[in-house]
Symmetry: C2
Subunit: 153 residues, 2 copies
DNA sequence: GCGTATCGTTCACAGCTCGAATGATTCAGG
DNA sequence: CCTGAATCATTCGAGCTGTGAACGATACGC
């Protein structure tokens, strides 16, 4: 980009100019703030991710959820245990394949998910406070585009 | 936002529509890819962050670096140890306050930082492959704006 | 000078996630 | 119908990261 001289050695400015670096840093910041908010609900961000996956796709096996969220199946067990304890999900043996546990959202689970969305929107309001409405929607749109390209859609 | 009905319960779609959620998810993805690339240099992302902080600001004490990076001072010790082992930084007692260790980048450190920037740019090319050049610069600009508002500048 | 505060360092510990082992269940094929 | 291979959920042990509480050394206010 900076072709003023061409001999300039890349430094901190070059790193900070990249999307990857800012995405990583701001992502950590957003994740922390989101985590702090959902903690009041007794949840961690991964719980919210699992709830969202359950609401988005149809009832799924734990294996499928694991690969969709990009985590080990053993982690799904722990997350589902805790969500079950909160009454947010139901675990039912699939009658057509009794090895599978089918997870489904309860009304309580949907309520929790809604409050997670509220938490995220609150964080949004704070994060994007310095942006105009137009910039905000443009940013949201670009991030969504990236997500659709690189995340299991 | 969606005031079409008002009775609709927020679900996964609402969560996925937020900047915070996408920022967190994509940030983790970007961080993973960046980590994979700098691993070949014997570094972790935090090392790159430290190098960048050293190149950006003037020579700083470890305490100052800790608060700038948002980590515990004890972690700076470990990071600086490893960077010193690689010949990337020099540790010198501040003659005006012999409690302080002043870290400075060596030529090797600047070279490593430049290669970290290269790695980030490579990740960028992959991440933003589905975007037009105009979208790419708009995204980078928005992220930078967010960073300047919320990170220690 | 003497107590207090600050810096860097070490160390033990908690949290998170994974991978390998296990048991139950299903399925393919003779 | 029976047997061996494959798949699912679960448990458990291990690795990695980062933190917070000590501790010694040094600086500073009074």
């Amino acid at each position: 980009m900076s072709d003023v001289k061409g001999a300039e050695v890349k430094g901190a400015a070059a790193l900070r100019a990249t999307v990857a670096f800012n995405l990583g840093t701001l992502g950590a910041l957003a994740a922390d703030r989101f985590a702090a908010r959902v903690e009041a609900l007794g949840l961690k961000p991964k719980h919210a991710g699992l709830l969202a996956a359950l609401d988005a796709g149809s009832a799924a096996s734990q294996q499928e959820l694991a690969s969709r969220l990009g985590v080990a199946p053993s982690l799904i067990v722990a997350l589902a245990d805790q969500l079950q304890e909160l009454g947010a999900v139901e675990r039912l043996r699939d009658p057509e394949d009794r090895r599978r546990q089918v997870l489904t959202l309860t009304a309580e689970g949907r309520s929790l998910l809604a409050r997670c969305a509220d938490a995220a929107e609150t964080v949004d309001a704070d994060l994007t406070a310095g942006l105009t409405a137009a910039q905000r929607t443009a940013l949201a749109r670009h991030l969504r585009t990236l997500g659709e390209h690189h995340l299991p859609h």
